[in-house]
Amino acid sequence: MSSSQIYEQHYRRLDASIPLRAQRWIPIAREGLKALFSLRAYLALISIAWLPVFVRLVQVYFTTRFPEARRVVPVDDKLFFDFLAQQLPWMLLMSAYAGAGLIANDMRTGGLLLYLSRPLTLVDYIFGKVMILFVSLSMVTMVPGLVLFFGARSLAPDVLGAASHLLLVPKIVAMALALVLPTTALVLVMSALARSARFAGLGFFFVFVGSTVAHAIAWRATRSAYAGLISIQATMRRVGEAIFGVKPTRMTADLPPEYAFAVLALLFLGCLFVLKTRVRAVEIVK
């Protein structure tokens, strides 16, 4: 019996000699944001979302002229908490507008393959996309929140001028992060799961609104504060309430903020994990 050489056939790792650049996600984020900022509708959405800042600033100015008005509309931590909480609908709309197509479009058109045929890793790609949405959502939450703070501080130095009030800056940033990070991750997961941007955007709304309504029903049925854990909105609000130290709403009054924070953190990490496993350049057709 004669024997012949059998070659083991397998894929071999390519040892690229040129090291990868350090901040490889930057071009993805930069180009994505550039494309968004060139859209009039995007700018319009941001502009509308900034209107409440001016309304609040007028409110603060009013209280400096008529200090007795502060009894009705006090300039305190709650002002900034309420402001951020009220920015939520704009953040959701921005998520659907700017985030729904971020991955879905790439996966539908094969654009992902183009990205990954460059010296980029999947993590770079995802991080770049996360940054696009993070910046967009911060533009309607954190940035206006900080502008409101510094604007209010300069308008009412007697109320917000003390150095201790500078603590509001990390508070605003922390609550904005609690709003923006889980939302960013969730929108990107929906975008990765759906092939159409429209479906991704609506899917995100389905999950967000669905969890809020489910909470409303569960709360009415059980009157248990822990029902709040099923609502993304309620957990965000509870975390915000804890950060700013404001009185919680009756639906979540007894919900420990640590639990709410844990839910948001789990949501964020879970979404990142799904993103990592789901985003593939090549779809296996069975």
Binding site: A41, L45, P89, L92, L93, A96, Y97, A100, A194, S196, A197, R198, F199, G201, L202, G203, F205, F206, V209, G210, V213, A214, A216, I217, A218, R220, A221, T222, R223, S224
Partner: protein
């Protein structure tokens, strides 16, 4: 090849509509998006089952009251308008996006047939997804309770009609958005959450100009309002609500058909 072509006349409306309907249902219903929507719509079933298996101590509501909350808050007020936005706004624009509209436009059928067929397919699809979820939710929450499953049977049928009307009206409105705008999602969401969400709970006559105020009036056994809605929400008679929703739906459909019939769709590679 012998010519088997038919005489040169546009096909009659209903047979053509039926053929479009059959194709469109097949393209709408057995799709992953329908599956996900069905999963979301059947959440109350899981919720109800959980409550029945592990009833929380001192549950203050009867099964029928819980069902009332689910149908009013979950279905009619929130999820069904979203379902209508998802499927309704996609009616023609999905075919434009997927570039398959040309297949319909190059057949001997009127554009009215195409639109009606697609809209009927939408209705069949969303009702196929919604109706079993509502019925099963009702059974899970009400069967074998002191009141029994028969207690609210007429309400169940009335609620199904309310769901159908809600889906019809919102679907028509979003179909109108879909044929008029390139990106109907954000305007649709603005309509649902800014207009419908806030204005329905404004004082005075403001709720008269929202659809949700009429849709929620259709649920006779709705739960008591809470929060802002408790102060301001307005309810209308069933007849008035049906009339208004029907009227808005029909007018939106007519407008959508008019726009679709006149519009050119430039579909290119």
């Amino acid at each position: 090849m012998t010519s088997e072509t038919l005489s040169l006349a546009t096909r009659p409306l209903w047979p053509a509509t039926k053929d479009v309907l059959l194709i469109s249902i097949e393209r709408m219903l057995p799709r992953p998006r329908s599956f996900w929507v069905f999963l979301l719509l059947s959440l109350p079933v899981a919720f109800g089952a959980l409550l029945r298996i592990y009833p929380p101590p001192g549950l203050p509501l009867t099964g029928f009251e819980l069902y009332g909350m689910v149908i009013a808050l979950f279905f009619v007020r929130n999820l069904l308008p979203l379902v209508a936005l998802l499927f309704g706004s996609a009616l023609i624009s999905d075919a434009v996006d997927s570039k398959t509209l040309t297949y319909f436009l190059t057949r001997p059928i009127s554009r009215l047939s195409i639109f009606l067929g697609e809209f009927l397919a939408y209705l069949v699809t969303v009702l196929t997804l919604t109706v079993p979820c509502v019925v099963v939710t009702y059974l899970v929450l009400c069967a074998a309770t002191p009141q029994g499953a028969g207690f609210g049977a007429p309400d169940l049928v009335q609620d199904l009609a309310a769901c159908a009307l809600t889906l019809f009206t919102y679907g028509a409105v979003f179909a109108l958005l879909g044929v008029s705008l390139k990106r109907p999602l954000i305007p649709g969401l603005l309509f649902l959450f800014v207009w419908e969400g806030f204005v329905a709970n404004f004082p005075g006559d403001a709720p008269n100009y929202t659809l949700t105020a009429y849709a929620r009036s259709l649920i006779r056994h709705r739960p008591a309002e809470e929060g802002l809605a408790e102060l301001f929400s307005k309810f209308f008679g069933v007849g008035e609500s049906v009339l208004v929703l029907g009227f808005v739906g029909v007018v939106s459909l007519a407008l959508a058909i008019w726009i679709f019939s006149r519009r050119e769709y430039v579909i290119s590679s």
